[in-house]
Amino acid sequence: MAGLTGRMSTVVKAKVSKLLDRAEDPAETLDYSYQKQVEQLQNVKKGIADVVTAKKRLQMQEATLKQSVVKLDTQARQAVSGGQEDLARTALERKNVAQTELQGLDTQVSELEDQQQKLTDSEQKLRAKIEAFRTKKEVIKAQYSAAEAQVKISEAATGVGEQMADVGLAMQRAVDKTENMKARADAVSELEAAGTFDDVTALGSGEDDIDRQLKQLSSQPAVDDELAKMKGELGQGSAPAAAQISEQSQEAGAGGHGSESAPADAQPAEGGQG
């Protein structure tokens, strides 16, 4: 068969023969095959453990990011209430980045779940085939002459060899996917280390490197929209903060028009978040 299946079949057949052709004596073939099978099964177990570890790591990062999202949202609301629009914007930009990362991690965790399931299935199939091979091996030993044994062994070994090659393929794909996810997890860790998800109120004024990078990373319209929405929810309309501050000052009837007095009057919106 010429198409896709033909090419793949040829490659797999070559691979399986290579796997089995190393020993010439039937007894040796049996022992060699069996030893290889058991080794491969150990590898699969290790592969599953690696996938589980990677998954746990991503899940831990997810938990941290979820906390950051809540914290940054709270801070943005407090900043809006206090008329500190720049601070609110910074908090929302960081929240935006955290949310984007969170979505990515979510997809990756479910992909890892799939990989884990696939490897577990593969392990089960391989285990069943190895057990069947072990039984057959004893029958072959007891019943056949060396010449016949060679044929029977290669028949039985082909079935297991093929499964071993297939498990190898499943493992490789799982490892590749896990590597990609490790890279993603590392990227999140770097953002974390750079203080991206840190408490914005703990930062000094002035734009730092993180702020500049964040502005590139986060989608500005989304931040604008959310800021406007937040202001609406907090009953501040969508007017720029400076205008609001002077409005508030006038409404309060305070003689001083200094903008410093306004944030002090405004209460953090803790009541609204209860």
């Binding site: 068969m1 010429a2 198409g3 896709l4 299946t5 033909g6 090419r7 793949m8 079949s9 490659v11 797999v12 057949k13 070559a14 691979k15 399986v16 696939k118 593969s122 089960q124 199939k125 069943a128 085939k129 057990e131 069947a132 091979f133 057959k136 028949e155 039985a156 082909t158 079935g159 297991v160 060899g161 093929e162 090659a165 297939d166 190898g168 393929l169 499943a170 493992m171 490789q172 794909r173």
Partner: protein
């Protein structure tokens, strides 16, 4: 005949399904050659459905080898375009 879907399992297929399998296989290869990912994935999915639908899955302990081996269901167009061995689709 016995067909293996890589990373999934082995299926035993009646010879009647062979012609259809052959057609779909060639159609998939044509899509790969044309570099049409969408057509390739649709076609390959059809091919897999044929095997899963018409074939009966072999027992895990069955030691028979396969007559045909298909690439894994999550194969990418790039992988299908490459030689399967050269880019690691089949590990050493």
């Amino acid at each position: 005949m016995i067909v293996r879907v890589s990373t999934e399992g082995q299926y035993e297929l009646q010879d009647g399904a062979l012609e259809r399998l052959h057609e779909l296989d060639n159609a998939c290869q044509a899509a790969v050659d044309a570099g049409d990912g969408e057509r390739f994935h649709a076609c390959y999915e059809q091919l897999l459905e044929l095997i899963r639908g018409e074939g009966s899955e072999l027992e895990d302990a069955d030691l028979r080898g396969s007559d045909l081996t298909l690439p894994p269901p999550d194969i990418t167009l790039e992988e299908a375009q490459s030689e399967f061995s050269a880019h690691g689709l089949i590990p050493d």
